[in-house]
Subunit: 138 residues, 4 copies
DNA sequence: GTGGTCTAGACCACC
DNA sequence: GTGGTCTAGACCACA
């Protein structure tokens, strides 16, 4: 009943392990691999698979809960939540724009052309089934 | 001869101070506000302006030097370097794509449409004088 | 003879399921929807309706009995009790004041005006048939 | 330079220790005892005073940061943030109303009169300097 | 069984 | 010095 996750932890990464878990679960939700109501692996189970401490997974789940990506019920498990993150929109909008600008700055310093960067960007957008007035446009 | 920097540090930001300095200098280079050969403020001078510890500025300059954004000459100061970051292109390519994807994931969770995200992205690209039209500028 | 309950369990809520059952029954008594002597559904019956574990309902009933909101008769069922919670009044007084103060603190951090908060409070009081006019009703 | 806190932890309470720390700091901010920019005690210092583990205090500080009550800077300390919690307003509005209603339900079961409950409520409001169009009205 | 809390003690990045 | 991350292992409430 529990989903099989395809999470990989890079110990050499500058990002903390719990953050990598958060990011990859958010990504899986965005890509449609995880859907509303699905149960996530238990804390202990995922900790075992990734050879991390259960506390570390617990921290990741707590952060996901706070972002309304999942909800957790002690004694029951952790589940993908319904999407309702209209909140904080103004704050997060800036975060997203910051990320895009940051990527553009780095691209400049690598002498990447706008055309190339655009191509990468469109490639990523293509992977998502956005809540799109664009419906079947791809 | 020394450039006047327009750097602002946000103490409440999640990013460490030295990282904010690095990012804003990289951004100014990318936007053309800082050009090859221009001298940066001394560590102590900039530390004074931003009311930061000189160690913090020193760390920022060291990172910029490592990324070949600036070069430092003992007894002379720090200067904007010529662009030659062809080096670890494949590594950085992935970093940029990661950033773009990360932004897209966050956008999904905010229920932002592809069209809107594309608009933001183009807006950012518009600010830069990218190599596309300046292929020979170095 | 058995009352039809209008209880809803929110799985995504931070409150445990048994607590939600307790709260809603207490609320229904306070609002006059449930009256002295009325029989509650059996544990199994309510568990079935709410798709919860009978243990969970059992725990809720046990807590309600302990608070003298209901009484249970072996072989007969659970019934709404007469009000006689004069007992640990001083203890509970503090609990209520704590709740009110907690709400006020949260309201402050949301920059809600006193007038607005007062309006909400009066709105809630209006729903109840308090003892003020029913002094002799028991 | 660091504020002296008047926090007390009740080990017998049903509330976890870290939650009690969060609540009391929020309360002190709301009551005006802690003001924008003030530095909080260090994690280790407060942990020592309350004979709790530094991790427990760290958890409390992290939660306060997420609620935008404070901001923390590794290597510098934790500070009271500027108020800007306009976000989540609709969500939190319901939380506050839930708390008020909960208190009213409990008061009913204690046979407290509306007048008495109102008196308590006004007593609490009196302690706060709300961002009030009521200015000096008290 | 589940997740949540807490402790003890380690190591790291940042200032 | 600061806070942040992580581990190991304990205990608790909930389902």
């Amino acid at each position: 009943m529990v989903v099989i996750m395809q999470i990989k932890i890079n110990n050499a990464s500058a990002w903390p392990a719990y953050q990598q878990v958060v990011d990859q679960i958010k990504r899986d939700v965005a890509l449609g691999r995880l859907k509303k109501g699905q149960q996530l692996p238990t804390v202990r189970q995922l900790a075992g698979e990734l050879t991390l401490n259960p506390n570390t997974i617990g921290k990741a789940y707590r952060q996901l809960e706070q972002e309304n990506i999942i909800y957790t019920r002690a004694g029951a498990g952790a589940f993908i939540a319904d999407i309702d993150n209209q909140l904080n929109k103004s704050v997060r909008r800036n975060l997203i724009i910051d990320q895009l600008e940051h990527a553009a700055v780095d691209a400049f310093h690598m002498q990447i052309t706008k055309a190339e960067l655009r191509k990468w960007f469109e490639g990523i957008l293509g992977e998502f089934n956005f809540n799109s007035k664009e419906g079947t446009s791809r």
